[in-house]
Symmetry: C2
Amino acid sequence: MSVTAPEIAASDIVPLDRREEVLAAAAECFMRRGYEQTSMDDVAEALGATKGRVYHHFRSKPELFFQVYRRAMDILMQACEPVVAQGGSGEQRLHGMAKAHTLCMMETRTFQRTLTMGVDLYRFGETSPEHKAVLEELMGLRFVYEDLFRHTFEAGIADGTLAVPDPSLAMRTLLGALNWVTVWYSPRPGETRRHREQLAEEIVETVLGGYRARR
Amino acid sequence: MSVTAPEIAASDIVPLDRREEVLAAAAECFMRRGYEQTSMDDVAEALGATKGRVYHHFRSKPELFFQVYRRAMDILMQACEPVVAQGGSGEQRLHGMAKAHTLCMMETRTFQRTLTMGVDLYRFGETSPEHKAVLEELMGLRFVYEDLFRHTFEAGIADGTLAVPDPSLAMRTLLGALNWVTVWYSPRPGETRRHREQLAEEIVETVLGGYRARR
DNA sequence: GTCTATATTATGATAGAC
DNA sequence: GTCTATCATAATATAGAC
């Protein structure tokens, strides 16, 4: 054994990227306490470290928030884009997108809740010009994502599989209902992906189908 | 004119209760910046006053938050209770409650947004025992309110006017969609109550009716 | 009731050792 | 890369004048 690979301790298997760990810890804190309520010390403590580590990877607290936000948007985009691409009727695509969105809410809820609740909480008027620019870019990402849903509603109206008076309004109420999942959902011990898919399906069915009995 | 009523200046007509003014200013600030982001100086500035005034009426910042929260809940309760009381089918009551709820979201959105976004943002673990007690009482109020909706769903299932697989899930998705109104709605200049009622009706119709075309 | 200080604490951020 | 100070600032809350 003269030529040995660098030894790998058991504790080294988990740690993905160090930077990723910091990001995840921040998302966790932001979800639990909100952006402002979270101190850099809190994030460090969640890592079992001190601020030095956090500041080594992220310039500032807003920067940290921005990265969590961007990651949350990336996750949503990557979940929905395949569904959009695979085609089908408007209703079929909407169903798939809604389900993908809901699963993201459940499985990456630390990030998603930061995204969902944190947007407009962030002070607009008093931020620096650079921060304001980043914020507007992030808001732009959100609009692009919302447009995916809006356009799907329009497609569904066109092909006769969906019936809503106003696609924008429909998009907002749908995403409102689904985003709200981050508020009340928390994973049960022993929960599997199957369970989550089942719950997501039930949620989407309830929302898309409406609450009234068909006469 | 020897017997004169105490003179009333024009500026004295508006001011209701002084305490109410402080509360409303706080709700406005909480909505715009979030709880933590709002300083007591911010609230004072919104009043055109200094902290002294705020602290004269409210012991502390958490106290101020609690009162805003409680007020928001009272508004919702008082809006929905008459609808519950007036009877009708489950579907009819649900429609009325949802519309009343939505109008509250639009017309008292400073309070409602504080309620909606602020609950779990408030740190649970580190609050004092007394604060924790108050928080739990407030959460209790919320549960009572949610139960109004849950029970209406159950009633609607029983009388055949509503069809949902799970009343709790239906309540959550419905309130999610409606609460989300505080995120995107802002009053247009020149908007009247009529406009808001129309919009609320459209929102409720969209949500209750579902998004699919009936075959 | 409202104001003007002021005490106290918490937090974002940095510098420099290891 | 991470830690241990440390600085500077901002915000809660209070005391006491008016």
